[in-house]
């Protein structure tokens, strides 16, 4: 019996293929955007896990040079002799590939090539020219390195492993070590590190890799975008299901009258939807794979540029996101259908079964009340909410409240527009447009959300870019940056600077606890470079003068917010040294707090720290000569960074980020355009009884079609007008609330009117395109079909 009922229910879709396509396409597109984003996230996380597994990132305690820079091989040997079970690591980049040198005999079990190669031949690894383990695509990017390449798919992406001796040779850093991995098993008796190697410092293992923690926010934003896109798609699904259920009310009554129990009917309808959801999600996940594969190279470049995280540029098929795609499609369908199923379950058997106009099914007043409540909740959370969760709840309340407010607001605006209309046609146009709002409301809400997401996300990203560009100009004022390997080389840099540069700015830093938080303390030289370029968020008068006199400190925004410090409030930076806060500066992208003191004070407080990094000021025309002079002293090219190149690279990273957000924006807008098209097509048949009398009264089919096209564009324009403030509110919430809660710093918000104008144009074009086919069909409607309306009425 169930099969007979299911077949009757399915016959509705056979007779209404457009509705079926709308449902399947809506769900497939929604799933595609969601699972595409999930695929990117899953691939990135797998890359971090691979890095943790092959390199021990975050798993083991590490020992590094107290002053930064390399650890001499002799220090390592001395430490081993003192009984410390440690393993050396050196890292560098060759043609963008991260080359890691390990010592396989001392490395912790499971790390490095022993694991990566599976059955690695240690003899070959250690002897002769050595071996390099990496993925195929990574090996292909490496130049000819006089070492045998070995394919190892388990090695982290964009990473090559080799013996430490081979790495030192290839990186031209003989006898140097970057860090020491502390093995978990240590002898019971060993001298403390401060005694065995006073120049070294140990750091505890961290839960989860550094990279994974740093990139969490990036992935959170991507997930939020994916969810928003999914929500846009879900509007289409809800529209299609709602319409189909409304149209099937007579069928449901007939089935029940013929002896089908309500429970069985609901169960079979749920099963029918589940089958359709499975079909659509299969298509959606496949589409999502294509989207992810297209976007992953840009995402990988962004992650590498922003966080130094190596992520595979190619996608692997991972069961977790297949399942996630299927799961969310089923869940989304259940959510979208729950209202319709609930309404059917409560429908009395003997009630009028004729399909009610979809619009009548929803209480306009109730919807307006819910919208107002949600927008009030948004306001309350904006004023008094605290924490990231409250931030996201605020975003949810804003977007859902804004979407629900759209139909009542459109109704009001259209009623107002109807007033001044003089001609009969204009009067009918506005009245009819108002009548169409409920039927199109889901599609218009989808358009509203898509546009608001576009405005919000692009405002956020563009503000970030603008701020970051200014920030780079402020922070990267020196023409060249040089990193010395040791104190002797630092002296060489000073000598070169005296002869060839206008000024030398040592970059002194150390990590300490300040106000109970981990922080970097910097010693800044009193120089015009800082005075001229740095801008403060808040500052006392003459902060640089006071700083130069050692009468205060500057702190970054992260320290200001996390420690709850105020201007003028004293902060302890060393035992017995408390100084007032003179200024607070923006420090975008830095995860931890920062304190700046004047150079003499820094040297007094931390005499053990010597400067190994320097900024060199020079006339821009003299930069090549300065660089050449530095290289002539034997400082490797990789240790010298050109400010122009650094800025170019940073901005290039942003361009890649833009590619990803633009692609997601365009896709979301396309989904909304599709929603409008499908709504118009499905409503087209229901429109005939409304249009036939007007046609009979003398309006041509072509005029009716033109007015229908205009109606859609007007509705899209009104939606765009509401989407702009909603998008700006979204951007404000992201920048001023979520960003502050998530990262500890607040981005200034800039407005980009031209971008919004372009977006509005795009949305109107999408709406016009979506409406043009239904309008064309209307203009070609045979008169007999229009006359049929009057026949049916009889």
């Amino acid at each position: 019996m169930s099969r007979v009922i299911l077949s009757a229910l399915l016959s509705h879709w056979r007779r209404n293929p457009l509705q079926l396509i709308t449902l399947l396409a809506g769900l497939a597109l929604a799933t595609a955007l969601w699972s595409g984003v999930q695929a990117i996230n899953a691939e990135a996380r797998a890359s971090y896990d691979a890095a943790a597994a092959t390199l021990g990132d975050g798993q083991y305690a590490q020992i590094t040079a107290r002053e930064g820079g390399a650890i001499p091989q002799a220090t390592y040997i001395a430490l081993r002799r003192a009984g410390w079970a440690v393993s050396p690591v050196i890292e560098g980049r060759i043609d963008g590939v991260r080359l890691v040198g390990l010592e396989p005999l001392t490395a912790p079990g499971g790390l490095g090539p022993v694991r990566a190669g599976g059955e690695a031949d240690l003899g070959a690894f250690l002897s002769g020219t050595g071996q390099i383990f990496a993925r195929d695509n990574t090996l292909a990017r490496l130049p000819d390195l006089e070492a045998e390449p070995v394919t190892a798919p388990d090695v982290a992406p964009n990473t090559a492993l080799t013996d430490i001796g081979v790495a030192q040779r290839l990186l031209e850093r003989p006898g140097q070590i970057d860090r020491l991995i502390v093995l978990p098993e240590q002898p019971l008796i060993q001298p403390p590190l401060e005694q065995a190697a006073p120049d070294l410092i140990s750091s505890a293992p961290q839960e989860g890799g550094d990279v994974a923690r740093l990139t969490d926010s990036f992935h959170l934003n991507l997930t939020a975008f994916g969810l928003l896109s999914f929500a846009v798609g879900l509007f289409i699904v809800q529209g299609a299901i709602g319409l189909a259920f409304e149209q099937r009310r007579p069928m449901v009554r007939t089935l029940r009258a013929l002896g089908v129990s309500l429970r069985r009917l609901i169960l079979i309808m749920a099963l029918e939807l589940a089958l359709l959801a499975l079909l659509a999600s299969g298509i959606g996940v496949a589409l999502g794979y294509l989207i992810a594969a297209a976007l992953l190279p840009d995402v990988a470049a962004t992650l590498r540029g922003l966080y130094g995280a190596d992520v595979a540029g190619q996608l692997s098929l991972r069961p977790i996101w297949w399942l996630s795609g299927l799961g969310i499609a089923l869940g989304g369908t259940a959510l979208a259908a729950s209202g319709a199923l609930w309404s059917l379950a409560r429908m009395p058997l003997l009630s009028g079964a004729q399909p009610r106009a979809l619009m009548m099914a929803r209480s306009g007043t109730g919807q307006a009340l819910i919208a107002a409540s949600l927008l009030l909740l948004f306001g309350a959370l904006a004023l008094w909410g605290e924490g990231l969760l409250a931030g996201f709840a605020m975003l949810g309340a804003l977007l859902i409240g804004g979407a629900l407010a759209l139909p009542p607001l459109l109704g009001l605006v259209l009623k107002w527009a109807e007033g001044p209309a003089r001609s009969a046609t204009a009067e009918w146009f506005w009245a009819d447009t108002r009548q169409q709002v409920p039927g199109l409301s889901l599609a218009l809400m989808a358009l509203l959300l898509a546009m608001a997401a576009n405005v919000g996300v692009s405002t956020m990203v563009s503000s970030f870019r603008l701020t970051f560009t200014g920030f780079l100009d402020q922070r990267l004022a020196s023409e060249l940056y040089v990193r010395a390997e040791d104190a002797a080389q630092a002296e060489v840099v000073r000598d070169v600077a005296r002869e060839h540069a206008d000024a030398l700015l040592p970059l002194l830093s150390t990590e300490r606890q300040v106000a109970g938080l981990p922080a970097e303390i910097y010693g800044a030289r009193d120089h015009a470079t800082y005075r001229d370029n740095w801008q403060f968020l808040y500052a006392v008068p003459d902060p640089w003068e006071l700083l130069a006199r050692g009468e205060g400190v500057l702190i970054n925004e992260q320290m200001f917010r996390r420690a709850g410090l105020e201007l003028g409030e004293e902060v302890s930076i060393a035992s017995g040294t408390r100084l007032p806060v003179l200024g607070i500066y923006g420090d975008y992208g830095n995860p931890i707090g920062q304190v700046i003191v004047t150079e003499p004070l820094f040297r007094d407080l931390y005499p053990e720290v010597t400067a190994l990094r320097f900024g060199l000021r020079s006339d821009s025309g003299q930069v090549p000569a300065l660089r050449q002079a530095l290289e002539n002293t034997g400082i490797p090219q990789a240790a010298i960074t050109d400010q122009v190149a650094l800025k170019r690279m940073s901005l290039a990273v942003f361009e890649r980020t833009f590619t990803v957000t633009t692609a997601l924006n365009v896709l979301t807008l396309a989904v909304a355009g599709f929603a409008i098209l499908m709504s118009l097509l499905t409503l087209a048949a229901m429109r005939l009884p409304q249009l036939a009398p007007v046609w009979a009264l003398g309006l041509t089919r072509r005029s009716l079609a033109r007015l229908d096209l205009l109606r859609t564009v007007v509705l899209a324009a009104l939606t765009a007008a509401l989407a702009l403030p909603l998008g700006l509110a979204l951007a404000w919430a992201l920048l001023a609330v979520v960003n502050v809660e998530a990262f500890g710093w607040r981005l200034p918000m800039y407005l980009f009117p031209l971008d919004y104008l372009r977006l509005t144009g795009l949305a109107l074009l999408a709406a016009a395109l979506a409406a043009s086919w239904p309008a064309w069909r209307l203009s070609r409607t045979p008169p007999a079909q229009l006359l049929g309306v009057f026949r049916n009425e009889r």
Binding site: M1, V4, I5, A8, S11, H12, R14, R15, N16, P250, M251, R253, T254, L255, R256, A257, L258, G259, V260, S261, L262, R263, R264, L349, L350
Partner: protein, 216 residues
């Protein structure tokens, strides 16, 4: 006894007096009864109670020996599926199924589908040319004939017809009624016909009139 109604009362909230008051009625297999009455006299309500589409406030409704009073939704659905066939004024065809699909539908639900019987009924009702068409392409008379075929193809013991010709002109009405009578007679089922039309009521051997919720 195919149908036994004992002191059945039904009222609707907010309507004041009961729609049906202590109605008692018996019907044997093969009996044909016409039920007439003014609009609002409770004819359709009585038919809905017999068909298990609605429940009585008090009294008993027994169809083919089954008391409907204690039955839940599923139980009453089972009765409608297997024992009773209802023909509605509005035809209530499934718009997405073809004529052939509609005729076979209830029989398939009951598991008593016989394609040969479908063909026979379609021929008898003059629908053989329409089998692949959809309801929207049929005239009102044709649609009602499909509804009759659907009911009879399932082989019910009791046929309930609620104004089956209410939407048809006189000629079509007479033709449909003749076919219905012939076919019910042929199957030996009981028939209760609810109608406004004195002319149609006069065609059946037994006739009852409902007035102010009571049978006269």
């Amino acid at each position: 006894m195919l149908l036994h109604l004992d002191q059945v009362t039904k009222s609707y909230p907010g309507t004041g007096a009961p729609v049906l008051r202590e109605i008692s009625l018996d019907l044997d297999a093969g009996d044909m009864l016409a039920l007439t009455g003014e609009s609002g006299s409770g004819k359709s309500t009585l038919l809905h109670l017999i068909g298990g589409l609605d429940t009585a406030d008090s009294g008993r409704v027994c169809v083919d020996g089954t008391d409907l009073t204690p039955l839940d939704d599923a139980g009453r659905a089972g009765l409608r599926r297997g024992t009773v066939g209802v023909i509605f004024q509005q035809f209530n065809l499934i718009p997405s199924l073809s004529v052939a699909g509609n005729i076979a539908f209830q029989a398939r639900l009951t598991g008593r589908h016989d394609p040969a019987r479908d063909t026979e009924l379609a021929t008898h009702l003059g629908l053989q040319e329409q089998l692949h068409k959809y309801p929207e392409h049929l005239s009102g008379g044709q649609q009602q004939r499909v509804a009759i075929a659907r009911t009879l193809a399932a082989g019910p013991k009791l046929v309930l017809a609620d104004e089956p010709t209410g939407n048809l002109d006189e000629a079509s009405s007479d033709a449909v009624m003749s076919l219905l009578q012939d076919l019910v007679e042929e199957t030996g089922a009981g028939l209760i016909l609810v109608t406004h039309s004195e002319r149609l009521a006069a065609r059946l051997p037994r006739r009852l009139h409902l007035r102010a919720g009571q049978l006269t």
